[in-house]
Point group: C2
Chain length 240, copies 2
DNA sequence: CGAGTAATAAGTCAGAGTAAATAAAGCGAG
DNA sequence: CTCGCTTTATTTACTCTGACTTATTACTCG
C-alpha cells in the first residue's frame, strides 16, 4: 500500500478550493495565457483526479473572480488581465504564490501611494480610542519582533489595517488585501536584499502620533514619507 | 397548461447565476443579516426549484466574494460586512439593485475623491493618442446624448474608464467597477432630483484637455473639482 | 468536567440527459 | 458558378438525480 503521493492540485481548505488554487495560480502566473482554452470538464476533472462537480465548483470560483469565462461549445477561456478582479484577496494570494510579476508589485505600490496618505488623513479625523490602541499594539509588536520574523510582518499589516478601519469606510477597508500584499512584499524583498536599509519603526511612530493627535495634515505627510521610503527600499531591492 | 410564472430567483445569465443574484441581493440588501444562517442546501434548493448542484455552484460564487462561509454541520452563514469584497463588480451591482445604503454611496464617493484625481495625474503623464481619442469619443457621446439617457450615462462611465486605463495600472483599472458605480449613481440621483444643477460637460472637458496636454497638475486639479461637484450634487439630491 | 459517540449538514462522487453556440452542410437566388 | 441565407449536426457546458463520505458540532456517559 504505497502512498499515492500524486496530488498535483495544490492545497486548499476543501477539494474544490485546492483545485481553484491550482488553476488560479496557473492562470495568474501566466502558465495558461489569456485567451487560451482550458481542456474540457471531463478531461480536466479526470486529469486532476476529482469529480466533475468538484471541478465545476472550482471553475465557478474562478469565474466569480473574473479569471475565466465559459460558454457551451466554446469552452472555458482565460479572460484578458484587465477583466481580472485584481484586488480580490485570493487572486492576489495566487499572484504572490509564485514569483510575482514585478509590474503587479509596482502597480500595488502606486495604489498604496495614492490611497494610504489619504486614508491616514481620514483616520486622523475619525479615529477613536480603540483605533489608537490597535495601532499602538501593532506598533509594539512590530518593535518587539522586527520585520525579520513572521509575527512582525503580521503586526505591520495589522498596523496599516487599523488605519484603514479607522477611516470608517468599508470601501477603503476592502482595499486592505491589496495594501497588505504590497506591505508584505516590501518586507520580503528587503529581507532578500539582506541589509535592512533603515529602521521602519520611527516612520510608523510618526504616523501613529499624528493620527492619535488628530492632525490630518501631519498624518498625510508622515504616511506619504513612509510609503515613499518603502517604495524606494523595495525598488532598490528589486533591481538588486 | 398554465404558465408556471413562479420563478422567484431573479435573472442571470444561467440558472446558477440567477440563484447567485437572488441570494446576493438578499444578503447585500440586508434581508439576510450577517451572522444569520441560510437554510440547508436540500431545503433551499427545493424552495428555489433548482437542483442541489446548481444551488451549490451559486453558493460557491457567494463564498468566492466573501459574502458567506459554509462548514459541515454548522451550515452556511452570512459573513460580517467587513469581510465582503465590496469592490467586486457583481457585489456592487447587487448593492445597487435595490435602494442602496446611503453609507455605501458615501464611501464610494470618498474613494473616488481619493483615487480619481491621482489617476488623472498619472494619465496626464502616460496617456497616448489612443487614450486621448477614447476620452474625446466618450465626451462627444456624452454631449450628444446627455446624462438623461442611458447611452449618455454609459459614455460618462466610459470617459472615466478611459482615464483609468491610461494610467497603465491594472490595480487602478480594477477599481473602475467601484468608480463606475458611484458615477452612475450620481446621475441617477440627479435625475431623481429633476433639476440638473449644472452642465457636467465643461468640467469633463477641462479634465480631458489637461490630460491631453500632459499637464499633470492641472489634470489633478480639474478632476478634483469634477468629483467635488458630483459629490455636492449627489449629496444635495440625496437629502432632498 | 473531559473523553467518546451520535447526529447533522456540507462535501464528493457517478452517470444520464438538456440546452446553447458554433461549424458544417444544404439550398436557393443572383 | 458564387454568394448568402437557412437548416442541421456536433461539441461543450449546464442541469438534474440520488447515493455515499467526511467534518464538525452537540450530546451523553463515565
Amino acid at each position: 500500500m504505497e502512498e499515492q503521493a500524486r496530488k498535483p492540485r495544490g492545497t486548499g481548505r476543501r477539494l474544490r478550493g485546492a483545485v481553484a488554487n491550482y488553476l488560479g495560480t496557473a492562470i495568474v502566473s501566466g502558465e495558461i495565457a489569456p485567451g487560451e482554452r482550458l481542456s474540457g470538464e471531463v478531461a480536466n476533472a479526470e486529469a486532476l483526479d476529482v469529480s466533475r462537480s468538484a471541478y465545476r465548483e472550482a471553475v465557478q470560483v474562478l469565474t466569480a473572480k473574473g479569471l475565466v469565462e465559459s460558454r457551451p461549445k466554446a469552452g472555458t477561456r482565460v479572460l484578458p488581465r484587465h477583466r481580472w478582479n485584481l484586488l480580490d484577496p485570493e487572486v492576489l494570494a495566487w499572484a504572490f504564490a509564485k514569483e510575482p510579476d514585478l509590474e503587479i508589485v509596482r502597480n500595488l505600490f502606486e495604489l498604496r501611494a495614492i490611497v494610504e496618505p489619504a486614508a491616514a488623513r481620514l483616520a486622523a479625523e475619525r479615529r477613536d480610542k480603540a483605533d489608537v490602541k490597535a495601532m499602538r499594539d501593532a506598533l509594539a509588536a512590530m518593535r518587539r519582533f522586527t520585520l525579520a520574523t513572521d509575527p512582525g510582518r503580521v503586526a505591520d499589516r495589522e498596523f496599516h489595517d487599523a488605519i484603514l478601519r479607522a477611516t470608517r469606510n468599508d470601501a477603503l477597508v476592502a482595499l486592505s488585501a491589496g495594501i497588505g500584499a504590497a506591505v508584505n512584499w516590501t518586507t520580503h524583498y528587503k529581507q532578500r536584499a539582506r541589509a535592512l536599509p533603515r529602521d521602519p519603526v520611527p516612520d510608523h511612530i510618526r504616523v501613529a502620533d499624528a493620527i492619535a493627535a488628530g492632525d490630518a495634515e501631519a498624518a498625510d505627510k508622515a504616511m506619504r514619507v513612509l510609503v515613499e521610503m518603502a517604495f524606494d527600499d523595495t525598488r532598490a531591492a528589486m533591481v538588486r
